[in-house]
Symmetry: C2
Subunit: 344 residues, 2 copies
């Protein structure tokens, strides 16, 4: 577990997408964030107090989180210098970049000398095995999407929160760097060796017997030519009884692939259900989550109504309008879960 509270790093960023990991922590673990660190050329803010490193440490921050996506996942000289400054004042450092903190000798030495820790959350566990697909106990929900970055993590977190509010035991299972930092644990499924994709997810959400739910964060899309292999292995490993489809309406093309249109909702859902049946023949869809943050209120409600009519499933923007309709459908599917009492 990565010790909080956190100082969130924005660095020199001027791209709101690039700071998505810091923003995720600010949104979902705000009580664990004492402030944000940004250089003078950074026009962005998460609405937290701006602090220097020493101020943050004095305010109780135990870990500085490099919650940014640098070009190519690189750990450049500026990031190393800022990580060193955090260690200097007594904070651990966490990052989810492709280039690892532990491969920077200067940071490794400083951390060792001070009894501090470096957390590379993109590191998969070393002892993964292949998945087997044998039926296992427990209730599992997986979010799947038309594309990358359409709100699968936000939706999974919102559904987890809504289930808990009903008194149902529920745990968010993270599969990406932001989710892992929010949850404090998880498996960075895009970084595991290809043979172990489904095995990594079987380990992330093993058999459970307490009647509670694992809500597993999906990744990518079966229709994304870069990442579909990850999405399919994740789907098989998750062995979900419930799928929630996620979409961001109005996207001009699939993320990172100009010219490639996003797939339709019905087609995406059908293909995911079909593939999911390989490890759970009883899988079913329980709802659709759309990110309507770029639409006005009436337009968003109209869109949700259209999707409900088209797919016969509850559709909502879980951040703007809550996830109650989907939870209703989910718990109808499995009424026994209602009997479970909360343990959180």
């Amino acid at each position: 577990m990565i010790p909080g509270p956190f100082l969130l790093y924005l660095g020199h960023s001027d791209d709101s997408v690039a700071i998505k990991t810091s923003r995720g922590l600010a949104e979902f673990r705000r009580d664990d964030c004492v402030g944000e660190f940004r250089h003078d050329d950074c026009p962005l803010t998460l609405g937290l107090p701006r602090m220097r490193m020493a101020q943050a440490a004095a305010a109780g921050a135990r870990t500085m989180v490099l919650g940014i996506a640098s070009a190519g996942g690189r750990l450049g000289a500026d990031l190393v210098a800022d990580a060193a400054a955090a260690l200097e004042v007594g904070m651990n450092v966490a990052a989810g970049l492709h280039e690892r903190l532990r491969n920077e000798p200067r940071l490794v030495q400083m951390a060792a000398e001070r009894g501090l820790q470096l957390f590379d959350v993109r590191d998969p566990p070393a002892d993964l095995t292949v998945g087997k697909g044998y039926p296992r106990a427990g209730h599992r929900l997986l979010t799947v999407g038309t594309d990358c970055s359409v709100g699968k993590m936000y939706s999974t977190l919102a559904l987890t929160k809504a289930l808990r509010a009903r008194g149902v035991t529920a745990d968010f299972r993270a599969t990406g760097q932001t989710g892992i930092l929010i949850a404090g644990e998880g498996v960075p499924v895009d970084a595991v060796v290809a043979d172990f994709i489904s095995g990594a997810i079987e380990r992330l959400a093993p058999a459970r017997h307490d009647g509670g739910w694992d809500l597993i964060e999906g990744q990518g899309s079966l229709f994304h030519p870069s990442f579909a292999g990850v999405s399919l292995g994740l789907l098989h490993g998750a062995q979900p009884e419930a799928l929630v489809l996620c979409d961001e309406p109005g996207r001009a093309h699939m993320r990172g692939i100009p010219g490639r249109p996003t797939p339709g909702l019905a087609e995406t859902l059908e293909r995911n259900l079909e593939a999911a049946r390989v490890t759970n023949p009883d899988v079913r869809a329980v709802g659709v989550c759309v990110n309507t943050s770029r639409m006005d209120g009436p337009e968003a409600l109209r869109l949700c109504g259209q999707i409900e009519d088209e797919l016969g499933l509850p559709c909502t923007d879980p951040v703007a309008h809550g996830a109650e309709a989907i939870i209703d459908r989910l718990l109808c599917v499995e009424p026994s879960a209602l009997a479970t009492t909360a343990s959180h």
Copy 2:
């Protein structure tokens, strides 16, 4: 490139499946194999002269190939000792195990002192990138299967040979350790980081403009709960215009998963075509390859006839009966390929 000729290692094996990499070299590169090395407790043979290390080196062997699958891909003390003995007499050593030769300091030092090389063919390239799925030039065929180890590599090699015999330029593109040792190059797709599966295949078979064919070795199965992610990323990255379905009839269950039946041929083909359309809407199936080595001749022919009737595609055991019918169908699909002259 790994320098031949080779000495093929059987070690202490008494399991014919465990020596499949050595056997693949003995079958497809027999002229490059001077002999086989086995301990007295090994009852297996590839029909090559049995040689000690020094004998093999004297006979011209330049590389000893550890062509066996050990439990868990481990490089145990016995294998290290035999690899050291090969280096001692002046041979390079090649292996495709999960545990790497280069992580054995004793072997690294011996190789360095003698100017010899260690080849870990399971090492993926270090600079892979994500696939993009953009249409690219060239003719590509991919073998897909109902399961692992149903003959995809053998079929791909047989199809490559048959195409060349027609005067068509054709190259085998290897994706597994045995294929890589046979071809001398390739990408071990099950060992790449999950994000880079399709990108690795786009690099293995990039755009080509000579009118020739890339015949890409498939892996796993879209229905295998351990490896489907690899299979899907491979399928998207291959962007094939032609699929050949491979099957081993009579298998009791999917490889490594007792209790799980293998999928039907029609279902397997349909699912692969559907997924392949994500990167090539014009993909089509051109034939079925079955491994009938456990059937008698009339039974094998009857089965092929049944499959032809069911799927409307030529069906053959390419090892026993050749691949001509599939090549006919393939070249009908793309008659322009007939005009290509052989460059091999």
